[in-house]
């Protein structure tokens, strides 16, 4: 039983066909690597799943129901969170503040609803600990490393109890040591039963952590294989078109 299942997804912008009859599924607690060259249709697929726009054609099922998202908020309410490449964090706020941004915990004082700083700091520390990250809740995000920033963004999704998290190029532009940290974060998410779609150009990273890989080329799905049954060489050939389909 899939958590997310897309069938016959087609996306057209006027005369341009960005996606053609794509089937795509993610099982609960699975990390699916989504790979493809620029313009292959990765971002379009991600945006459809995240609810940014509906597909021209095709159906989407999530958590047992057919869904039609009218906006990102719909997708979020259903349990789908996106961690964007630029991370969408506020540098001038603490890690805890970022984790809780838009979902601040409050308490009542003299009839006034004010933020519960202690509870948020405490809960954020807990979330970071669950992710086995050394991120601390109080320092400003500006002062954190790339890996720690990813931890903050991912902790947000855990707070939202997201069932499916889309990570857009989470290992781009960070150091080698931090890449290992981020890959570990993904394993933690899987351990906690979250499904992950890992969008990346970095093949070694996908091979290190994903359970399955889906390759897009020119708007079509050209491969969808469990990790053990393919190789970086084959995937490269699929991305470039040297091999048509596998």
């Amino acid at each position: 039983m899939s958590l997310l299942e897309l069938r016959g997804i087609r996306m057209e912008y006027g005369a341009i066909r960005a996606l053609a009859e794509v089937d795509f599924a993610v099982a609960p607690g699975e990390i699916v690597g989504l790979i493809g060259d620029n313009g292959a249709g990765k971002s379009t697929l991600v945006k459809i799943i995240a609810g940014n726009f509906p597909p021209t054609h095709g159906t989407m099922h999530f958590d047992g129901h057919e869904v039609r998202f009218r906006g990102p908020q719909d997708a979020r309410n259903a349990g789908i969170e996106v961690v964007y490449q630029d991370l969408a964090l506020c540098d001038n706020l603490s890690g805890a503040a970022n984790v809780f941004l838009g979902r601040e915990l409050r308490r009542q004082v003299a009839g006034l609803s004010i933020m519960d700083h202690t509870a948020m700091t405490h809960r954020a520390a807990q979330l970071f600990a669950e992710l086995k990250s050394e991120t601390r809740p109080e320092p400003l995000v500006r002062t954190l490393s790339g890996g720690q920033r990813q931890a903050v963004a991912i902790a947000r999704t855990r707070l939202a109890a997201a069932k499916l998290v889309l990570l857009d190029e989470p290992t781009a532009s960070i150091s080698v040591r931090q890449v290992a940290e981020v890959l570990d974060l993904m394993r933690r998410m899987r351990d906690h039963g979250q499904s992950v779609i890992f969008i990346s150009h970095a093949m070694p990273h996908i091979f290190a952590v994903a359970d399955r890989i889906t390759v897009l080329r020119r708007g079509r799905k050209v491969a969808d294989k469990p990790m053990g049954t393919t190789s970086p060489e084959e995937v490269t050939a699929l991305i470039t078109g040297a091999v048509e389909r596998a």
Partner: protein
Amino acid sequence: MPQTQTAYVVVAFVALIVVIWILAPVFMTPRNLLNISKNFSFIALMSLGETLVIISGGIDLSVGSVCALSAVVTMMSMRFFAGTPAAQVPGATIALAALLGLALAALIGLVNGLFVARIRLSPFVTTLGMLSVTRGMTYVLTQGRAQYPVGPDVAAFTRFANGAVFGMPTQLVYLLVLAVLMALALRHLVWGRHLYAVGGNAQAAALTGVRVPRVVVSVYVLSGLAAGFSGVLIAGWLGAAPANLATGYELRVIAAAVIGGANLAGGTGGAAGAVLGAALIEVIRNGFVLIGANTYWEEVFVGIIIIIAVLVDQLRTRRIF
């Protein structure tokens, strides 16, 4: 090393006071301190509102004009209400008049905010236009003539705007109360958190569900209100509201906010900084006069302080300090 720009300003402030005190002992007399605290309250009040706008990543150039319009409208309404039944109720004419003045100031802030948040006009251009529109309206309404408080509540108005509470000038009391409220709101209300988020990364804030336009509109309204309130107080202090009231104040107000640690890029600043920044400028102005230095140098000095303040902030965030 101090951790925040506000802390640096405190250090500079204390050092400056000591220097001026040594050079001109008259500085520390109650009379002079009273004089300073009145003068700086008006700028500091406006600076509180300006700081909110700057935290959001915007700027409000219209504060000086809004200050004047609110003052003259309050004075003109006071004259109007003196001829209505409201004159029978003690304090009613000035209360109604001040409410009208403040409502107009809030309305101008609302228009600024809507243009910036909804139509996405640049805050600089929007409020520059509003600076001119509002000043022009002030001249149109008054035909350039100063407006005076008249009617049964003139004495009450003076007590309210230029009186004393426990020996403290009322202006200073209003300023300190509002500054404390602002500091608490910024620290403890979700609104405050969202304001910093909008200034830090508006796109990220919007993605997490923060209602960015609402937050942005709110700060322009509050800035308008602060300027309007300051205008009413200035009119009470001067006993008049000239049409050219508070001309050019926007620059001093912004300077006070920036010296106090508000970053024009958005995302940082606070109430204490706004008050301190305004106090620092006023102490410099006052000190130049007391020491008997050529007061033409005062502006030069204030300008240098502004640049040093921003420079220190830059160096600090680059972790050179």
